[in-house]
Amino acid sequence: MRPSRKRRRMWIVVLAGLGLGSATALTLTAFQDNLVFFLAPSDIAAKSPGPDRAFRLGGLVEAGSLQRAQAADGRTEARFRVTDGPVTIPVSYVGVLPDLFREGQGVVTLGKLGPDGLFRASEVLARHDETYMPPEVADALKRSGHWDPAQGAAPPAASWNTLSPDTPAPGAQDRAENPREQRGG
């Protein structure tokens, strides 16, 4: 009697877990398109939300696109382009930019896309990519031409995450192994 009751409870828990799990999975799949924190430039090119709707635009700050100018009220206006590769959208923002903001960095901006194609942002957030490295290592990568931060993400982590800051920049051998990482610089 005792084992059968235990087994019955186990089956109830398993069945309830299966039901709950599949219900959650279905819900999440159904909402996957709505649960976005930001839209990429390509999403906007495919289906523009219209000039009246505020939304978040996310992507990389294009290299060489950042310009700062004095706005009419004396505050600094930043103009830059946000890109995800195929599509690029110009953004203008008046206000303080976060510490992590730079060319090549991921950003999420909240604002409205004007009919002139300029995205006027009321808020700019910087995204952090998932790489952590000491300044010396970053310098070594930059000096050796392995990486130009303005061009985008760092090279594959395996090529630098055990690099000692004291040793000279990675040699030509490394470069031959990762020929695709040599853009920029």
Binding site: M10, V108, L125, Y132, D139, T162, P165
Partner: protein, 303 residues
């Protein structure tokens, strides 16, 4: 909780009689009843309406074993936690390099990431304890779950707070309603809800049952938290350490993080074990008092 995972019903009947008397003396002498020194705590615990169902003996054999085991393990656990955490804190705060773009702010990560891992790992532990409680009616699982949830809530709150402190200078905002942050906030509410629910009933067992069901339902949130940064586009970055490619973290930052995580993990385990120990002893004291009161009543009625 390794000691909890030894319900072993087949071995319980033979081991219960020898283990019950040795476990009684530590708590018996203070009250020192003059009458027969039989193992009191075992029988009066059952309420009249609940059938004994054969588990009555192994019920209290296990907590006794748990008390003796943790009595030996806990000082070592505290010592190891202090040692590892001290070394990890010194390494992380003094001897590890800053990040090339975050600067010194990266050091918040040495608290934030272990807290996030513990929040989720602890909840997995809560779900396992709830499963054991619901299916096998393991008494220690109930107590462990009850004592786990306030610690888990604290750890999750620290994860949210440190993340917020990091997000303000780095992202430019204290908080964003993206999938990762929202799902961790839900985890915090689950911890708080569990802690409140198990304490909301006069009858402890009903509270434990309700809490276990809540904990198991809430476990759906765990994979959502883990993979939220991959399934949805979020402000929060995706995983640096646990990813298929090499860790996106330089070893000078990764190793102190690992030591900190181990130290916080040991401290978490020690805290939960100590709380569970206290709960087991508290329950014993209450049962002794109850038994004594009953005996008094019985004696009065016989006269």
């Amino acid at each position: 909780m390794p000691p909890v995972s030894t319900p072993a019903p087949p071995s319980a009947p033979p081991s219960a009689p020898p283990s019950a008397p040795p476990s009684a003396p530590p708590s018996a002498p203070p009250s020192a009843p003059p009458s027969a020194p039989r193992p009191l705590p075992a029988s009066p615990a059952r309420r009249p309406g609940v059938p004994p169902a054969g588990g009555g003996l192994h019920r209290f054999a296990n907590p006794g074993r748990f008390l003796r085991l943790t009595d030996r393990v806990l000082p070592w656990l505290w010592g190891a936690a202090l040692l590892v955490l001290g070394a990890g804190a010194a390494w992380a705060l003094l001897f590890s390099p800053p990040d090339w773009q975050q600067g010194e702010t990266v050091r918040i990560m040495y608290v934030h990431v272990p807290m996030a891992w513990l929040a989720m790992g602890g909840y997995l532990g809560l779900a396992i304890a709830s499963l054991m409680s619901l299916i096998w009616r393991h008494p220690l699982a109930d107590l462990a779950a009850r004592e786990l949830s306030p610690v888990g809530a604290m750890v999750t709150a620290l994860c949210l707070a440190t993340g917020s402190l990091w997000g303000r200078p780095m992202w430019g905002t204290w908080w964003a309603w993206d999938a990762r942050m929202t799902s961790v906030l839900v985890l915090f509410f689950l911890w708080m809800g569990h802690a409140a629910l198990v304490r909301a009933f006069d009858e402890e067992e009903r509270g434990a049952r309700a809490g276990a069901i809540l904990a198991l339902i809430g476990a759906v949130n765990l994979p959502v938290i883990k993979w939220s940064v991959d399934w949805f586009n979020t402000l929060h970055q995706s995983a640096s350490v646990t990813r298929a490619a090499a860790p996106g973290m330089h070893v000078d930052i990764l190793y102190p993080l690992m030591v900190c995580a181990l130290g916080f993990g040991l401290a978490f385990a020690a805290l939960v074990l100590a709380r569970t120990r206290a709960a087991v002893m508290e329950r014993r004291v209450r049962q002794l008092q109850l038994a004594q009161a009953r005996r008094h009543d019985g004696g009065a009625a016989e006269k």
